[in-house]
């Protein structure tokens, strides 16, 4: 995909967002970077914390949920999603930027790229996680939703039934 090198950080045990941010920040500080790109939310725990915490530890500016990223005069000009609209924000580099879908189209790896990837260096770093401040104490399955009504048939009829359900059960108030 285009990375020149990799760093694989290994740490045993559990680490919450606080502890993970410390580990990442240490490595990033040592390696140095002009721009730190992250996703804006993790697909697994979905907590949206670590990149912003890393920026705080490193004392760098950050911009979250960015959909467009441009550079001018040593600054990053970030268009980002905020509640109620979009915002254009400028931050000095180096900076931490978290990315939202539509920032960019991922390229297809070329054959040449795939072959070259095998030769790219990957450094291993062993880290020790600081003690977590937030701990998972229980995991459970979400309450199973009762399977609701499912109807098939002529649209004229099913549409009417759905409208009746909306009016009588949900009690929607359509604008006349």
């Amino acid at each position: 995909m285009g990375a020149d090198r990799g760093v694989l950080i290994k740490a045993d045990g559990e680490a919450d967002e606080y502890a993970r941010a410390i580990i990442l920040a240490e490595v990033l500080k040592e390696q140095g970077a002009d721009l730190i790109l992250c996703g804006h939310v993790a697909a697994d725990d979905g907590s949206s914390q670590v990149p912003t915490r890393v920026a705080e530890i490193l004392g760098l500016p950050h911009a979250n949920v960015v959909t467009k990223l441009e550079f001018a005069d040593g600054k990053a000009v970030c268009t980002r999603e905020v509640d109620g609209g979009m915002e254009v924000m400028e931050v000095a580099l180096p900076a931490v930027v978290t990315c939202q879908v539509s920032l960019n189209e991922p390229r297809y790896p070329s054959m040449k790229g795939i072959m070259q990837a095998k030769k790219k260096p990957i450094a291993n770093v062993d880290a020790v996680a600081a003690e977590s401040k937030a701990k998972i104490v229980e995991l459970f399955l979400p309450p199973a939703k009762q399977a609701g009504k499912k109807i098939e048939g002529e649209p004229e009829d099913t549409g009417k039934q759905l409208a009746a359900w909306l009016l009588n059960e949900v009690k929607v108030e359509p604008k006349k």
Partner: protein
């Protein structure tokens, strides 16, 4: 000894987001004094409204520097206030502002935090928060200790109640300076829409691949407007360019929690379900009877949205 519950007010141009009232209402159940933290410019007039929904006190930091939300100034202000007042619990809405501010503040204070929570219990200086992981397939209870205990709470999950507290305005010293500001907000482009915002709407009507194109979008929009609803879309509808990405409902888009969610032509990938399955009532129209969306619906119609939705709209107009 830390005490009291703080709710950080989420507002823009003097308009308070509903999640703030939800948090103030929830905070009543913790049995401690509840303070709303109001940071902004020219916001003093909002204290009474915050009192109505449960704020005993409203701590107000009012200054030009807070005119636009910017992380640096808000974090500096919050950190100074927390140092001075020592609250036990600080809650934020899981909004653009809330998650941005809370994460940076938590690290500055060296505390843990649970985000996007759907339930909160506080006892003995400890918070236990419930949140969804793995796209909602698993729920986790997270214990957060620290001073203060911090969390962001998903909009729409806590009931709003009017407890009619005093909302006593307390002006606090402005601690943020220009040196704290590291983001230069150049422009805010408000979404131009007569419809309510996705994350605040009582009703959401969303369309997916089944919309097939702009004509399908129109059908969905017509029903939405009749119901005073927000319009949303699945990843497929966004990727096809039929709706802008700010309309995306799902794990990486907006998580919505309306009273009613209507899914039209959406099969219901796990990432989409993660963004809407906690809605109170869910209806779906989809041609595929085996579509996963039907596993979360209260009322499902197997059929083509082009044929079914116009009938629904016509019926509701009667």
């Amino acid at each position: 000894m830390a005490k009291g519950t703080w709710v950080v007010v989420d507002q823009r141009d003097g308009k308070i987001r509903k999640v703030t009232f939800e948090l103030l209402s929830k905070a009543q159940t913790f049995g401690e004094e509840v303070s709303a933290v109001l940071i902004g410019k020219g916001v003093e007039g909002l204290a009474a409204e915050l009192g109505k929904f449960g704020a005993d006190k409203v701590l107000i930091a009012d200054d030009d520097i807070f005119a636009n939300y910017n992380t640096g100034a808000y974090v500096a202000q919050m950190a100074a206030m927390i140092k001075e007042y020592d609250p036990a619990v600080v809650l934020f809405g899981h909004t653009s502002m809330g998650k941005d501010l809370a994460a940076r503040l938590a690290q500055k204070l060296g505390v843990g935090m649970a985000t996007d929570c759907v339930a909160a219990e506080i006892s003995g200086g400890k918070g236990v928060f419930t949140r969804a992981i793995y796209a909602g397939k698993v729920m986790a209870k997270v214990a957060v200790e620290g001073s203060p205990v911090m969390a962001t709470i998903r909009a729409g999950v806590m009931e709003v109640s009017e407890s009619g507290k005093a909302g006593e305005a307390v002006k606090v010293a402005v601690a943020a300076t220009a040196a704290d500001v590291y983001q230069n907000v150049k422009e805010f482009m408000a979404a131009v829409s007569s419809r309510p915002e996705l994350t605040e709407a009582e009703v959401v009507v969303s369309g997916g691949r089944g919309m097939k194109g702009p004509e399908g979008v129109k059908i969905v929009e017509e029903l939405a407007d009749l119901l005073g609803a927000a319009v949303g879309g699945s990843r497929a509808a966004i990727d096809s360019g039929w709706l802008g990405h700010e309309y995306q409902v799902g794990q990486t888009g907006k998580v919505v929690n309306p009273n009613l969610y209507i899914a039209a032509g959406i099969s219901g990938a796990i990432q989409h379900l993660a963004g809407m399955s906690s809605s109170k009532f869910i209806a779906a129209v989809n041609t595929d009877p085996e579509a996963p969306i039907f596993s979360v619906t209260d009322f499902g119609v197997v059929g083509d949205l082009f044929k079914v939705i116009p009938v629904v709209t016509a019926e509701l107009k009667k």
